[in-house]
């Protein structure tokens, strides 16, 4: 028999607003001429994100596990991550708004007459805005989903737009499309793993609710083998999304191929959403079985940190370097997951915010460094940039030092709090490996800084385009936050302390 669901619309409103904005965006695509779409879409997207954030502020203290019949849990943790995603998406949209990054006619073959016609007619790809909003809605649902079906739906809602957005790059289109295809195929593959895991968990426990699966362990008479299989497959699906070794191989290719603002959006927001889900599942549903998965996840964290930082050393392309850096960061964040204490949860939340700002900022700067044929991501061409554009170089150095965890930047406090939480949980191995791989990672961040500041500029050098006002705002906010959270981290640390609550 079908019972009418009772939904608490007030608590779901932030997500619904974003979805509504996305649908309006689709209508704008249909009813407005290509010339006028751009400004309308930008205003619409930014407005939607702001309204959603304002609503989120209103309901920030309404904690409930039953907003949608037990399918979502709006708690401090979830609301905090939703807010973070909205803020970072806002900054990313500011970067996306610069129309030089997207192919004017996506369906046209690269180099075809059709494409040339589209370029000369001045049309632009504005579909990217509603797609972004759809992805944001999925990302906001992912960390608060508290049953497996909702989790899966959120995963798909956030992934599908990203697959398309990856293929939209204006330049190097074949590479971009290849990246999109690769992302899609591997993403579909991991979704299958994810779903397979859910099926096993359902088979074992007879329920789809995260909470009930968590306690089923104690009462179930079934063989725990099914539980383990379910857990492993589900975890693999999630690890793919966060880009942990050995499920990381898509990351460098996709990060490199995607239009740079999209890469920034993806790198920051997807990671937050995916770690949100990961933390909720492991701190909640799988908490009681921690002795069965902790060694497994600890191993993954360790190899992710080490391999990520070693692989990054050999990269010659800034986007690939940042991709490997994001893999390394996934390893550090996993250390927060296996810490499995309140400090670990709070530290992970802080880490995600700090990482998100630095990531959007760093990719924002990558969009600015160009030569006549567009963005230049080859690191050797970046040599001596500080001479020509000191401000941009200083900002880039700030983001890189933050990634490297140098004191006075937000990245240092992130690492400090994550390692403190891990140490507290008695997992000293992960702290030692973490510290050592930080040292390796520092090497390649500093190498980029060195290239920027201490190398002579090549004659066919690149230049930094004058950033649009929106790009300027985005990078500026990211830089200020990176510095502020490093110098006065209490602002955010106190907030994550109070917000780090999970309801089951």
């Amino acid at each position: 028999m079908f019972t009418m669901p009772t939904l608490n619309y007030a608590q779901l409103a932030p997500i619904l607003i974003v979805l509504g904005g996305a649908l309006l965006g689709v209508l704008v695509e249909a009813f407005f001429g290509s010339k006028r779409r751009g400004p309308i879409q930008i205003t619409l997207s930014l407005g939607t994100l702001v309204i959603s954030f304002a609503w989120l502020l209103r309901i920030r203290n309404d904690i409930s596990a039953t907003a949608a019949m037990g399918s979502v849990a709006t708690d401090g943790f979830g609301i905090f991550l939703q807010g973070t995603i909205l803020v970072l998406a806002f900054l990313a949209v500011l970067l996306i708004a610069d129309n030089d990054h997207f192919a004017p006619a996506v369906s046209a073959l690269p180099g075809s007459e059709e494409e040339a016609a589209a370029i000369s007619s001045g049309s632009r790809t504005t579909e990217v805005f509603p797609l972004t909003l759809f992805a944001v809605a999925g990302m906001m649902l992912f960390p608060i989903a508290s049953d497996f079906i909702t989790l899966f739906v959120a995963l798909e809602v956030l992934s599908l737009p990203l697959y398309i957005m990856t293929g939209l790059s204006r330049r190097r289109r074949l590479m971009s499309q290849e990246a999109a295809l690769k992302y899609f195929l591997l993403g579909a593959y991991s979704s299958a793993f994810f779903l397979f895991g859910i099926a096993f968990l359902y088979g074992y426990s007879g329920t789809l609710s995260l909470t009930d699966v968590g306690t089923a362990n104690i009462f179930s008479a079934g063989s725990p083998v099914f539980l383990y299989i379910g857990m492993v497959f589900l975890t693999i699906g999630l690890l793919f999304k966060v880009g942990a070794v050995p499920f990381h191989s898509w990351t460098p290719d996709v990060y490199q191929g995607a239009p740079t603002p999209i890469t920034g959006f993806m790198a920051a927001c997807t990671k937050i959403a995916a770690f949100g889900a990961l933390l909720r599942i492991f701190y909640g549903a799988f908490f009681l079985m921690q002795y069965s998965w902790k060694p497994f996840l600890t191993t993954i964290a360790i190899i992710t940190m080490v391999l990520g930082s070693i692989a990054a050393m050999t990269q010659r392309d800034i986007k690939r370097t940042l991709a490997y850096s994001s893999i390394t960061h996934a390893g550090f964040l996993l250390a927060g997951v296996v810490a499995l204490n309140k400090a670990g949860l709070a530290a992970s939340m802080f880490y995600l915010v700090a990482y998100g700002f630095a990531t959007v900022g760093a990719f924002g700067i990558v969009t600015l460094v160009r030569d006549s044929s567009g963005e230049v991501t080859d690191l050797s061409k970046w040599a001596g940039l500080a001479k020509k554009s000191p401000l941009v170089s200083v900002a880039m150095a700030l983001f890189l030092l933050s990634f490297g965890g140098v004191p006075m930047t937000s990245g240092f406090i992130s690492k400090f709090s994550i390692f403190t939480a891990a140490y507290q949980s008695g997992n000293i191995a992960i702290v030692v490996v973490g510290v050592l791989s930080s040292a390796i990672a520092l090497f390649f961040y500093l190498r980029v800084v060195l290239t920027l500041f201490f190398q002579e500029a090549p004659t066919d050098g690149v230049s930094v385009v004058i950033p649009s006002i929106m790009t300027r705002i985005a990078i500026g906010i990211c830089a200020v936050m990176t510095l502020l959270l490093g110098v006065y981290p209490s602002l955010l640390l106190n907030l994550v302390d109070t917000m780090s609550t999970l309801v089951h």
Partner: protein, 501 residues
């Protein structure tokens, strides 16, 4: 804001002032930088005159919550050990500014950037000695690398970028090991319901032996890289060779002292048992440093790397004194830190002037300077004598104290260490003979003697070396109480000296 905080933060005021000045007005920028650093120095003198050794703990204590969720405070305070090092810093900075008046020009960036970096560095250097919160200390310890990195890479010579990177990587690597230990000791303090980074509170923890050993190593390796102790020294010669003389003075004179300072402040007082466990091994490393540094100094062809290697030898003496943990050893080591700062400053200053006049740092290019530039030659000679610890100069007092203090606990190490003095005479006198004496080498004819600005810059350094050599009492008077308190915290007493003394 008490005077200690004020002295610490005052140079930042200069940074702000410089930021608003036009880039092109280099002369004015230099004057402002000099003025700010002199005022900082005078302020620190005022602070020193009013300083009274506290019965326990620190003077001029100030503490404000900084990161409350981790019980981190902006906590400053000084004892004798910190005070003398802060004075060393505040005296050396104006000397560096004045002595290297023109070294800021011709760098990768503007003169303005150079002095902003120097003044930021000064705040960090004072702050690192004043911090009584382990976390704050760590943050400054790491953050101060950044201005030095840019000073070497942006204004140095030769392989400056590579040297800067090597310096930074070594230091950050050590720093990360220390970070793990900092976190470890915080967790232990939280488990023992203190939950603090305060260095005094942490020294009251009871930590089991195995954990102490690990934490000790985390701190010690970071400090040994900084100090630099053999075999962690390999970054130093390159950095000293590439850096400008002024940067080298601050690097070897002050920054490296943070390593030896940290050994006393943190290794000895927080982990007394581990110190006793590791001391014999560290004594061996120190003796190796003394001898190794001296031997390599003899063979150097580059003036700057020669000074760098003599410093490795001298740092060996300092760690020898520290890890003998006797009252003469510790006092001698602390006093050595100050004197080494001055004598290295003198060597780098005069050496830097010689190099900039000759446009070469190769020792073989010099010769017969005594004939044409007598003032410069004499000053170089005196600086050299101070480096070889001639009686009457301050470095003699401390070297003597260190060896005396070491002898009572580790007689063999002290005896071998004494060889270092002999070798020091060798490398200094060979250097003096090659550069100053003998016939005038071609290429040196047009060298000019020191001008007034340079004489004013070097005068206080030479004065300090001579005055502290004859009358070290004021310094020792300040240092002794903190030595006593370190010994008390370690719960050790001086070994009984055998009859016949």
């Amino acid at each position: 804001m008490n005077i200690l905080s004020f002295v610490t933060l005052f140079p930042l005021l200069g940074v702000v002032a410089l930021a608003f000045m036009p880039k092109t007005n280099t002369h004015q920028i230099k004057i402002v930088a000099l003025g700010i650093s002199i005022i900082t120095m005078l302020l620190s003198f005022v602070m020193a005159l009013k300083y009274k050794s506290p019965a326990s703990g620190f003077a001029y204590v100030t503490s404000h919550p900084w990161v409350s969720s981790f019980h981190i405070n902006y906590a400053l305070g000084i004892d004798g050990l910190a005070l003398v090092l802060i004075l060393l810093t505040t005296v050396l900075v104006p000397i560096v500014v004045l002595g290297g008046w023109n070294e800021s020009e011709g760098g990768r960036w503007s003169v303005k950037t150079f002095y902003m970096l120097i003044l930021v560095l000064e705040t960090f250097m004072i702050g690192v000695f004043a911090a009584t919160d382990v976390f704050l200390f760590y943050v400054i310890f790491e953050a101060m690398l950044v201005p030095v990195y840019f000073l070497i890479g942006g204004f140095g010579t030769g392989e400056r970028a590579a040297a800067a990177l090597k310096f930074l990587l070594y230091s950050l690597f050590g720093g990360l090991l220390m970070l793990a230990a900092v976190i470890g000791i915080y967790i232990i303090s939280a488990e023992q319901a203190i939950g603090s980074f305060d260095v005094t509170a942490l020294s009251h923890l009871t930590i089991d032996h195995a954990t102490q050993n690990w934490l000790f190593l985390g701190f010690f390796i970071a400090f040994a890289i900084k100090a630099p102790l053999w075999p962690f020294h390999t970054w130093l010669p390159g950095a000293a060779k590439a850096a400008t003389p002024g940067t080298s003075i601050l690097l070897l004179g002050v920054l490296d002292k943070v390593g030896t300072y940290g050994m006393i402040r943190f290794c000895l007082t927080l982990f007394p048992d581990a110190t006793k466990t590791f001391a014999p091994y560290i004594i061996v490393l120190s003796v190796i440093s003394v001898i190794y540094g001296a031997f390599l100094a003899i063979g150097q062809k580059n003036l700057n790397s020669l000074i760098a290697f003599t410093s490795i030898s001298h740092f060996g003496f300092i760690t020898l004194g520290i890890f003998a943990y006797t009252s003469q050893g510790l006092t001698g080591a602390t006093f050595y830190m100050v004197n080494h700062g001055f004598s290295t400053a003198a060597l780098f200053l005069v050496g830097g002037w010689m190099i900039s006049r000759r446009k070469s740092a190769a020792i073989e290019d010099f010769g017969g300077l005594q004939r044409i530039t007598p003032v410069m030659a004499w000053l170089f000679f005196v600086s050299g004598l101070s480096a070889l610890a001639l009686p009457g100069l301050s470095s003699f007092v401390c070297e003597f104290l260190v060896l005396l203090g070491t002898f009572t606990r580790y007689p063999v190490a002290a005896i071998i260490g004494t060889l270092g003095i002999v070798l020091a005479a060798l490398y200094i006198l060979i250097l003096v003979q090659r550069t100053l004496h003998g016939p005038l080498k071609s290429g040196n004819e047009s060298m000019t003697d020191l001008n007034l600005r340079e004489k004013i810059a070097i005068a206080p350094v030479i004065a300090a070396l001579v005055i502290l050599g004859f009358y070290p009492k004021p310094a020792l008077h300040v240092i002794n109480p903190s030595t006593t308190s370190v010994m008390a915290q370690m719960n050790v007493t001086d070994p009984h000296v055998l009859a016949g003394k």
